[in-house]
Symmetry: C2
Subunit: 317 residues, 2 copies
DNA sequence: TAAGTAGATAGAAAAATTCTATATGATGAA
DNA sequence: TTCATCATATAGAATTTTTCTATCTACTTA
């Protein structure tokens, strides 16, 4: 008889990628875990892990089973939650992954309010790329991600949070700084500071400016940075310009922030979590808190003024 | 330790409303079932059944637990199905709800292919408003909805299917018919045929044209219809124009179909289902079939040409 | 009140899970 | 090569859980 504990052992091995540590996490000895996992594999007729690899990895067939096992265990635990009346309680621990081009601007907005409102919840926020968020959700290392949607992935669900327009951020000495408004065509890549490869915002910016088809090597792009704040700093200190999302607008003297013509290019930011939603109450509370604390400057933007939600398939994070 | 069998016993008692018969169905003796059920009730701290009634009935608290127990057991059984390779079998019954402004154009595209590809699946498609789809999913009357996303609703998940631009559909005699391209500003509502209230497309069109703030009574709008085909017929037969989604483009002589300037206004169409996704294989097969059968005229549209995904919060369907 | 029905309880038997101790096998450093 | 070291598997005893048979209690109804 395959049991819930057997599933838990398998999940722990998937999470820790190490029998002894997985066993410790399950409060059993390593032989117990080994034996039960072997029994599980025997019963379902599928080898879940490739023990020859170091560290061990799930087999391709094992991946599907493990994903389903996580669902079963999550649903199983809900029974106790329902029974104890804690099903709708916001408590426990919530691990949140946030992409780097959102984190520094969004997290300070909601974190204090959210933490105050839910004292029983231990909150852990970390900056992660889109790829890390996807992987982290799959292995239950994080509970929820905040990233640019849509994202591919059959095992995940997303919730739209807000649509965030892009703005031109140009040094006052730059010719574009004289403009009242700009459009994508105005930006040909000359003097444009970009985030380095791996940031989804990079792809979104390239799309917004309709610079495409010459993805890997943009001869006319002069430097690539790892954070939006660095790009802003570069613009502040010299020539050139960049594109920044709405929440990254600050108050800078030597710099002009110029809107795009309507409909403004934008990206959609949303929550992402596993389909079975292990921490539903906390996730919903998080969504509410973010919605509540979003600046009016963003939420009050006319719905028809921001239209373009960039979908970039290739670049991630 | 609460076990899967304990849940099965409880479910059997709920189904048979009789301990001895439930025990027989579970291939155990009545004392075994009695003891395990008592153990379960003790462990979760909830009395599941009122034994004083004849036949026994679940307690009110028991109902929620039993519902969750059914989910756990169903998900648990999927493990064996996945392991044996039968998990991806598309079989059983799939009830689909489709909004009226999508149904007549999309359903004929995929239904034959889908039905041929999955002979073991009984397919039932019906036209429903967004509100009916939401309600139907919640009450498990339908398994999946096809509608304009995003949609509010915490218990549901959506899958993006395609972004569908809008086009101006104008009688050749109309002045706008001379234009090569149009933009939202060009359309002030004069001579514009609209769907009646309750169709989400109505709100999407109003947004795309940036006609807003005078929602309830548009003095300059002359007539309101219940279907896109009726609007097209009106345009074909006389003066005026309307906005139609990409898939509604036909081949009409007296009419011009005019693109919007880029980025074209558009709506997102997606699948919607319960978070638990009881019929995953069939739903995924449906998604695949739709993606496969979407006309290239839609899928080949440059990603950066269609940008505007209208989000209308108020109007439904 | 006796017979019948439904579910609970007791105690033994069977099955399963877990433990400690140890074996095997792979990797890497002396 | 050889000897640690680390990671997982195996063996066998101890413990826990589940199930069984037999029987009891409570309630109904003829």
């Amino acid at each position: 008889m395959t049991s819930i504990s057997q599933l838990e052992y398998a999940i722990a091995v998937d999470t820790h990628r190490h029998f002894a540590r997985a066993a410790k996490a399950c409060h059993v000895t390593q032989p117990t875990l080994s034996a039960q996992l072997a029994k599980l594999e025997d019963e379902i007729g599928v080898i879940l892990f490739d023990r020859s690899a170091q560290p061990i990895v799930p087999t391709s067939e094992g991946l599907a089973i493990l994903s389903q096992a996580r669902i079963v265990v999550a649903e199983f635990r809900k029974i106790a939650a329902i029974a104890s009346g804690a099903a709708n309680e916001v408590a426990g621990e919530l691990m949140v992954g946030v992409i780097p081009t959102v984190a520094p601007y969004l997290v300070p907005l909601f974190l204090e309010d959210f933490s105050r409102a839910h004292q029983k919840l231990k909150i852990d926020v970390r900056e992660m790329t889109t790829a890390q968020i996807t992987e982290g959700l799959a292995r239950e290392i994080i509970d929820v991600g905040i990233l640019a949607i849509p994202v591919e992935g059959i095992n995940f669900s997303t919730r739209f949070l807000y649509r965030e327009p892009f703005y031109l951020y140009a040094n006052k000495s730059h010719q574009l700084a004289q403009r009242k408004k700009v459009k994508g065509d105005d930006i040909d890549g000359k003097d444009l500071w970009l985030l380095e490869e791996g940031h989804c915002l990079r792809g979104q910016v390239l799309q917004a400016c309709q610079i495409k088809g010459r993805k890997p090597a943009l001869a006319n792009v002069r430097f690539e940075s790892g954070s939006v704040e660095t790009l802003k700093q570069l613009v502040r200190q010299g020539i050139g310009y960049t594109l920044i999302p709405h929440l990254a607008i600050g108050e800078d003297d030597d710099v002009k922030v110029i809107s795009f013509e309507e409909p403004m290019p934008a990206r959609d930011i949303g929550l992402m979590f596993r389909r079975e939603q292990l921490k539903k109450p906390a996730t919903e509370a998080l969504e509410k808190s973010i919605q509540k604390m979003l600046p009016r400057s963003l939420t009050k933007l006319a719905k028809d003024a921001i239209g373009l939600a960039v979908r970039n398939q290739n670049e991630q994070n």
